[in-house]
């Protein structure tokens, strides 16, 4: 069998900690954003799908790390345990972390309360993007460590980059994750751009007014088939079969109107997977709740999937968890893996009337996932597009 195996999963979301909580939330459809608890954030819209404060007990090793790093390490802890990785695999593992803002939330806190003391060697500038390194340090891993910051596509990029490392034979095991936490700067910039919905994240609805940020992290353990089989991995959830990376090269924030590059990302992912559109049983769209994004993604899905489009169910993760930024692609991938694994597409969160211009099928009742492939889309500011094709083992 081709592709790279997914043998472990982890997730931290507004629903709490753990993949079981994520799936339970997906099947019950209950969530709600809350006002961001930041008295210093002078913004018009401040809703957030926040990770509950006591969702998990953070590792004692995280020190002064910010929330994004704590979420990242917790999701990786779950995934590593789920995959049954031993000390040797943990030490050899590559880590690829996707995050848009990294430790920005911690930096914002330090800006007001003072920076933590250094290590005694004089003041050292600390990058916002230390999240991936913190994960490898926690694991005690020697393998390559990459942090990729392609904004809201970063989590999916991390999975694709990690899968490529495994495919290239550079490492036998890679851990890919996406993580994001509240950032005052990110919230304020979206607020300034008028891109935040005052009610909730309502992708593909008629009266959507923008997105609503969420916090969270998700992690997957990726292995070559040979390695997973040799070590008798407890289970294989799914396989990463293909990925398509493209760039609009069009505008800082607006998607290319004809969606040519997001269409190419989907087509290239399917081609790399050796699959056809008729093989896809579920699509986890990017679908942020912003007017243009949802409209263009809907149009391109109709174009790429043609006569099959109407019969392929979509599951909108953001309708449940909000837009988790750099974690979104990884959380979407974990959701897609769960759908393939369970064989069921949960009912989408009931959000109101669907936009008739968004001609996609968002089942309001549980539907079977009748085919073996899932397509995951993730897009970002700067015209970054990535599509992943996952397959049941």
């Amino acid at each position: 069998m081709g592709g790279v195996y997914i043998t472990g999963l982890g997730a931290v979301t507004c629903l709490g900690s753990g993949v079981d909580r994520l799936w339970h939330g997906m099947t019950t459809g209950h969530s709600a954003p809350v006002p961001a608890e930041d008295p210093h954030a002078h913004v018009a819209q401040r809703l957030l799908y926040a990770v509950p404060p006591h969702a998990f007990a953070p590792s004692s090793a995280v020190g002064t790390a910010g929330a994004a790093t704590r979420y990242a390490i917790e999701s990786v802890r779950q995934a590593v345990a789920d995959a049954g990785l031993g000390d040797a695999e943990r030490r050899a593992a590559a880590v690829v972390a996707g995050t848009g803002m990294g430790q920005a939330g911690a930096q914002e806190h330090w800006r007001l309360s003072g920076y933590p003391d250094g290590d005694g060697d004089g003041p050292q500038w600390t990058s916002t993007f230390t999240l991936g390194a913190a994960v490898s340090a926690w694991l005690g891993a020697d393998g390559p460590n990459t942090t990729v910051s392609n904004a809201c596509a970063a989590g999916a990029c991390a999975i694709s980059l990690a899968a490529d490392m495994v495919r290239a034979g550079e490492v036998p095991v890679a851990i890919a994750l996406g993580a994001e936490a509240y950032s005052r700067v990110a919230l304020a910039c979206f607020d300034r751009l008028g891109a935040l919905d005052p009610l909730s994240c309502r992708p593909f609805t008629s009266d959507r007014q923008g997105t609503v940020f969420g916090e969270g992290a998700a992690a997957v353990v990726l292995e070559s088939a040979e390695y997973a089989e040799a070590r008798s991995a407890p289970r294989v959830y799914s396989r990463v079969l293909g990925a398509g990376w493209t760039c609009d090269a069009y505008h800082p924030t607006a998607p290319e109107p004809d969606g040519a590059q997001i269409a190419r990302a989907m087509s290239e992912a399917l081609a790399e997977a050796g699959a056809s559109v008729g093989d896809v049983g579920v699509i986890v769209p990017h679908g942020t709740g912003t007017h243009l994004n949802d409209l263009i993604e809907s149009n391109v899905l109709a174009e790429v999937f043609g006569e099959h489009a109407a019969g392929i169910p979509l599951y909108s993760v953001k309708a449940l968890l909000g837009h988790t930024g750099g974690a979104a692609g990884a959380i979407a991938a974990v959701a897609a893996v769960l759908i393939l694994h369970k064989g069921v597409v949960p009912a989408n969160v009931a959000l109101g009337e669907q936009d008739p211009e968004c001609g996609v099928w968002l089942p309001s009742r549980t539907a079977p996932c009748a085919r073996d492939l899932a397509l995951v889309n993730a897009y970002a500011f700067g015209g970054n597009n990535i599509s992943l094709v996952l397959r049941r083992p």
């Binding site: 290590d119 500038w125 990058s127 230390t130 340090a137 490392m165 910039c189 990376w245 500011f381 015209g383």
Partner: protein, 347 residues
């Protein structure tokens, strides 16, 4: 396991005038060393962070003479650091309504590569790597893998940095400038006529590498609480790069067998010395162990705050006449990257 190699056909830099650093390691770039209006034109670039000015200028140099590319792999640590701090002050002291709508999108660090992509219609893809200190060197490895897997036929490899917010600890060691390399798969380049043709502008310089230089890079991680593992990991990475004929001559294998992590590389290096080694290192425990493993065989350059200097050293090595160079760098957080750079004359 060896890192895929790629061919560099052109490199361009935009850097402050030398010397860029004082003896104590602080930045010395004179005010006004870079004028975006002179380099990019009077219109359309006002509302961009400085790191984008540097990057776009270097890319124009690199893509002169009709050179094309499909995508970009960019490394940066501090491109939007100062912007974040300024925006944060506005939101805390005033309101988000006071933010510039033109600058607001650039809170997202990937907008640097995004702007570059839109300026040159790089629809292949763009990746923004932010791994501390090594993201520039790492971009070589990621680009080589992407080219080998057919995700593009020609890529830009870049690093750009801008001075962090002055209020942040260590900000006076922040970097300014950009490097852009044009990379292709080895098989796609005519290797005849090797040589370097350099040009210089007011703030940047560019070199066309006729015949192409080659680069390959490897990355690994040294847990900061286990810095003693640095030497062994470095040896494995260099074996992966194919240095010294790998273990076939007994060198690497012997070093590892002998417990190379406890000693330096001198007993492993060939007697004639091998390539020149340039190490961009700070004073962290990880970097100190790397430096110790290098046994004084490397020229050590004090690391600044970002990921630019290691790629600056790659560009310098590509412009060297004949000498192969190993460039390496490490972060206090544990990221380590090393690249083997072979200039055109030595291919």
């Amino acid at each position: 396991m060896s890192g895929a190699a790629l061919m560099i056909t052109r490199c361009a830099t935009v850097l402050p005038p030398e010397p860029r650093w004082a003896r104590d390691g602080t930045r010395t770039s004179p005010p006004g060393w870079f004028d975006y209006k002179t380099e990019l034109g009077p219109r359309g670039y006002k509302y961009l962070p400085p790191a984008l000015h540097y990057l776009l200028t270097a890319a124009r140099h690199a893509l002169a003479d009709g050179v094309g590319a499909a995508g970009v792999v960019l490394g940066t640590n501090s491109a939007v650091s100062a912007l974040h701090a300024a925006m944060d002050r506005t939101v805390v002291q005033s309101h988000s309504a006071e933010l510039s709508p033109m600058l607001a999108p650039y809170f997202s660090v990937n907008l640097a590569a995004g702007k570059l992509a839109s300026e040159h219609r790089l629809t292949g893809f763009q990746l923004t790597l932010t791994s501390p200190r090594i993201a520039g060197l790492e971009a070589i490895q990621v680009a080589a893998r992407a080219l080998a897997m057919g995700r593009a036929s020609c890529l830009l490899i870049a690093a750009t940095e801008a001075a962090p917010d002055p209020a942040e600890p260590g900000a006076d060691r922040g970097e300014e400038g950009a490097v852009v390399l044009v990379a292709r798969p080895l098989s796609n380049v005519d290797a005849s006529g090797a040589g370097v043709r350099s040009t210089a502008g007011s703030a940047g310089s560019s070199a066309a590498l006729s015949g192409g230089g080659t680069c390959r890079a490897r990355t690994f991680f040294v847990p900061p609480d286990a810095p003693h593992r640095a030497g062994e990991a470095l040896a494995a990475a260099w074996a992966g790069l194919g240095l010294w004929d790998g273990g076939s001559a007994g060198g690497t294998s012997k070093w590892l067998r002998d417990g190379g992590s406890a000693g330096g590389i001198s007993k492993w290096l060939p007697p004639d010395g091998g390539p020149r080694i340039v190490a961009v290192l700070d004073d962290s425990p990880v970097a100190r162990r790397i430096a110790a493993a290098l046994d004084g065989r490397a020229r050590v350059i004090p690391a600044a705050a970002g990921c630019l200097e290691p790629l600056v050293q790659v560009a310098a090595a590509l412009r060297a006449e004949r000498e192969a160079t190993v460039v390496l760098s490490a972060s206090a957080e544990g990221n380590v990257a090393t690249a083997l750079v072979t200039p055109p004359g030595a291919v």
